[in-house]
Amino acid sequence: MGDQSRMTLLLILLRWCRGLLAGLLLAAPAWSADILLTAAQDSAGLQAFTQALAHQRPDDQVTFTPLRDLPAPSRLPSSTRLILLDLPGLDWRLQDAQGPPTLVLRISRLQARQRMGNTHPAKISLLWSDPPLERQLRLIASILPQAHRIGVLYSADSEFLLRELMQFAKPMGLEIVPQLWGDTNDSRPLQTLFRNSDVLLGLDDPQLYNPKTVKNLLLSSYAQQLPLVGPNAGFVRAGSLASTYSDQPDWLAVLDRLLDHAPAKWPHTLYPEHFKVVGNPQVARSLGIEQVDEAAVAARLAEGEKRP
């Protein structure tokens, strides 16, 4: 038999196998997964996400059940993959050490620490909602190559992020200038920080970055011609220069990959590897900074994150 005919046979065999496999999957629902999404509050966004996930995973049973209709976590079948979409859901899940493998979305580092300290309960994977610090630093390096002193406001809650931030900054040749902002009614720490920084990096700390502080923060940093990067995409609209973020399609891609794996292989914590960049062109223009080419910068950052 020539090589070519041997190859053809192999292909036929493969097709046959795949057909058999598909038939088996359709016939035997045990091979598919039950994916249960839950949150305390239902919303149009939640419904849209559930539908999108169901569409993404046609072979799985994707359902949404409000938190109040669920039994204790330990009474759910262990084959269920649980996806929690808000913090009450996490509180509910944490009441039982036992329970199905769980993916927690829409939780930030800070929120997790406030709830769980440094503990890592078994079978729970935390998928961080706040942009990863290293990625944000790379974004700064990419759009503001001249900036070296990165001013960072922190509160007692977010202080634990500083060490990590400094570790990332060091090899990049960046200096983190930390400044405690304990009382957001007192703007003196801002003035001190602004004097010693080339750019501000916002930590996703709602005690510091919230609708009440946003005006003072952005107006006073702008008065010093100091751009703010981060803390999240919402702030970019308010007047921050740029941020990385992950939206629904990104999270669907992340979930798709995780759900393909056995829960035992799920990481304890994860930053989404899929992300985008958003910039504020008007702020950039006013600060005399080149427009942020969102797609190109995101691609460059993603390229830089590929581990060899």
């Binding site: 001249q146 004097r195 946003v214 973020y245």
Partner: protein
């Protein structure tokens, strides 16, 4: 486009965080330095502090082309490029948008501006005419003093400054914030002796003492509206040398000073409304009053108050002056030759001189006090029509009143209406076209329309070339146009012509029909920021002409103002601001100004070469230093060169910061300052300050 993509994200489960207001909106964002439609110098808080300056006028030495001189120690005269030897009447000066040049006399009393240096956040100087944005007095430049916002003034600050030349200043402020607002209250005072000696070596009487009170409040009403209001009061004494010289010979008695008690009051209220991120407006109302109380003792011959001599002056001032200056000579013979009417009056005056005690000495009080008021209302609307098109429009109403027996024989008032509009259009990433016009109608001097157009070419966002053409007008002020200047002497030591008060025979009247001055300015410039180096460079070439210029000096004998003069200023200016490292900052400015004018006095205040150089350094461990050099050749024929050194040590104890600073100013030349009467005994002055904030 961001603005297209973000709303689409609103339904996204992962992006619908807490709703945030859009803060840096299209209406709030300003043009980048490279895209500014003109030349701008910003003196930031770091420079203000490092300079160690005690007065705004001294800070303006950091602005290329700014001519800073002194009439006396407490009267700075600051001009951009030149003109008017004693007054800055061709420059608009604003504090937080409120114009502070005096309503009637149209000068800026730099020393009396009710703002403490410590309350200033930064000073933006727009170098060039810009009546479209700043109103009709913005003929040659605009100095916009911006105070620290109450939001950024939290905590307590105290500062004292003591030094040679009688320097004795203090400052204290308290800032607090609450849920919906912030407030800053500050008290400050200043004192010094001014210059030491006049041209003949006698003591120079030009010290000052002043106190200020200032309250600034900003309040948020709701997400769209906010209020800012301020109250400022200043009181103090400005010494003035006694300069009255009797007209008639043989009078030896005289007063000792003509000091001024100056009180300034100002209040303003601004209402900001953001309809949406693309549309905002503000309405600002302000009221100001300038009180200058100046009474001095004058002694002269009784004949000064002769009704006949007054009549003679009205008939022919030259004849009257000739007679008065040579009374003794003519009284030996007969009246100087003239018309029959003149001679008849002159003979009566001579008779009074010889036989009716006309040559007797009489003393009384001259009251040259003034009270000026201004009420101003402005509405400005900013509309962002698209990402590349922004429209700014507004109107302004102003009421000015001046009250002075000496200058106006009572009260004089004026109303001004102004409409202005400016369009900013960015047809492409590289081109920016900004143009506008202002229409103004003044009750006393008519209406005018002034256009302005600027083209910026942005090589990239940090480097821009610009070409600007602008016209600007300056309305003659009340003094120039409508002066009715005569001295009434009261409390006469002995009855004169049956009265114990008298009207001095010299009366000067303004022409009343003066036209506006017209400025035509052409400018080419470059502004660039080299981000890798931290270097900012601005270069400007200019060709400015003033026609219909009112340039007569303000003197009370035969003051004849007219629009007969003209001036032209051409040259180049540059400024360089270089952050060499995190610890070092270098700053250089230089201006070459070539002035020509029909009235030689108008170019006396122009230094052909002027500039400054500064080096600021942080040495670590709280030590910092700053060295500045300021120089100009021949301002009013006198050279000026000075080096200032400031060394400071900052000590932090818990939440308290203490800063101790020493300041040395060393003159490098031996010349008087601007005028022959302005001399210091020593070429250096030393002063120290201690500041505490917690």
């Amino acid at each position: 486009m961001l603005l297209c993509s973000l709303p689409a994200l609103a339904d996204d489960l992962f992006l619908d965080g807490q709703p945030l207001p859009q803060v840096l909106t299209a209406t709030r964002l300003k043009q980048s330095a490279a895209a500014v439609p003109g030349s701008m110098t910003v003196i930031d808080s770091e420079l203000i502090k490092a300079s160690g300056a005690r007065d705004v006028s001294e800070l303006l030495r950091l602005v290329p082309g700014m001519m800073v001189g002194y009439t006396t120690g407490n009267q700075a005269s600051v001009n951009y490029h030149g003109t008017s030897a004693s007054d800055a009447r061709r420059m608009q000066v604003l504090i937080d948008g409120r114009s502070v040049y005096r309503a009637g006399l149209a000068t800026v009393d730099w020393s009396d501006i009710p703002v403490a240096m410590e309350d200033i956040e930064r000073i933006e100087v727009f170098r060039g005419p810009n009546t479209v944005s700043y109103g009709a007095n913005a003929l040659m430049a605009v100095v916009n003093i911006l105070t620290r916002s109450p939001t950024n003034s939290h905590g307590s600050r105290m500062k004292v400054t003591r030094g040679e030349r009688g320097i004795n200043d203090f400052y204290a402020s308290q800032g607090v914030g609450w849920e919906t607002g912030d407030l800053r209250l500050s008290l400050s005072g200043q004192q010094d002796d001014g210059f030491d000696s006049n041209a003949v070596g006698a003591d120079r009487r030009d010290g000052r003492r002043l106190n200020r009170f200032s309250l600034a409040v900003s309040q948020t009403l709701n997400a769209q509206q906010s209020l800012d209001w301020q109250l400022n009061v200043k009181e103090g004494t400005n010494q003035r040398p006694y300069t009255y010289t009797p007209v008639f010979d043989g009078i030896s008695e005289h007063g000792s000073n003509s000091d001024i008690t100056a009180k300034d009051y100002a209040g303003s209220l601004r209402w900001n409304v953001d309809f949406n991120p693309d549309h905002s407006l503000y309405i600002q109302g302000s009221a100001q009053q300038w009180d200058r109380r100046q009474i001095w003792k004058a002694c002269d011959a009784k004949v000064s108050f002769s009704p006949q001599l007054t009549q003679l002056w009205q008939l022919n001032p030259n004849y009257a002056e000739r007679l008065a200056r040579n009374m003794e000579t003519y009284s030996q013979g007969s009246a100087p030759p003239g018309s029959a009417a003149e001679q008849a009056l002159a003979n009566q005056v001579l008779d009074q001189w010889k036989h009716q005690g006309g040559k007797d000495n009489v003393c009384g009080d001259i009251d040259q006090s003034t009270r000026e008021s201004r009420y101003d209302l402005e509405l400005q609307d900013t509309l962002s029509l698209s990402d590349s098109l922004r429209l700014l429009t507004g109107f302004n109403y102003r009421y000015d009143r001046a009250d002075s027996d000496t200058y106006f024989n009572g009260t004089l008032d004026d109303t001004t209406w102004r409409l202005f509009g400016q369009l900013e259009w960015r047809p492409s990433e590289h081109w920016l076209l900004q143009g506008g016009a202002m229409y103004e109608d003044t009750h006393l001097s008519g209406h005018s329309l002034t256009p302005r157009v600027a083209v910026n070419y942005l090589i990239n966002p940090r480097h821009g070339l610009r070409a600007v053409y602008s016209e600007a007008v300056r309305s003659p002020d009340m003094f120039e146009n409508n002066v009715n200047w005569s001295y009434r002497v009261t409390n006469l030591s002995s009855p004169t012509y049956g009265q114990n008060s008298g009207q001095y025979f010299v009366v000067t009247r303004g022409p009343g029909n003066l036209d506006k001055e017209l400025m035509r300015s052409r400018e080419l410039g470059y502004n660039g920021f080299f981000a890798d180096l931290g270097l900012n460079v601005d270069v400007k070439l200019f060709y400015d002409e003033i026609t219909d210029m009112i340039s007569s000096p303000l003197r009370n004998n035969q003051y004849i103002a007219s629009n007969a003069n003209s001036s032209r200023f051409t040259g180049a200016e540059s400024q360089l601001d270089w952050r060499v490292s995190n610890a070092d900052r270098l700053r250089l400015t230089y201006a070459y100004v070539d002035a020509s004018s029909s009235n030689p006095l108008d170019k006396a205040q122009t230094a052909r070469n002027s500039g400054s150089a500064g080096w600021l350094r942080e040495w670590g461990q709280g030590w910092s230093s700053a060295v500045f050099y300021y120089g100009d050749d021949a301002l009013n024929q006198y050279r000026f060169q000075r080096v200032d050194l400031r060394v400071a040590k900052r000590i932090a104890v818990a939440k308290t910061n203490v800063e101790l600073a020493g300041m040395l100013q060393q003159r490098l030349d031996n010349q008087p300052t601007t005028w022959a009467d302005n001399n210091y005994d020593h070429r250096h002055v030393l002063y120290f300050s201690a500041e505490l904030d917690f």
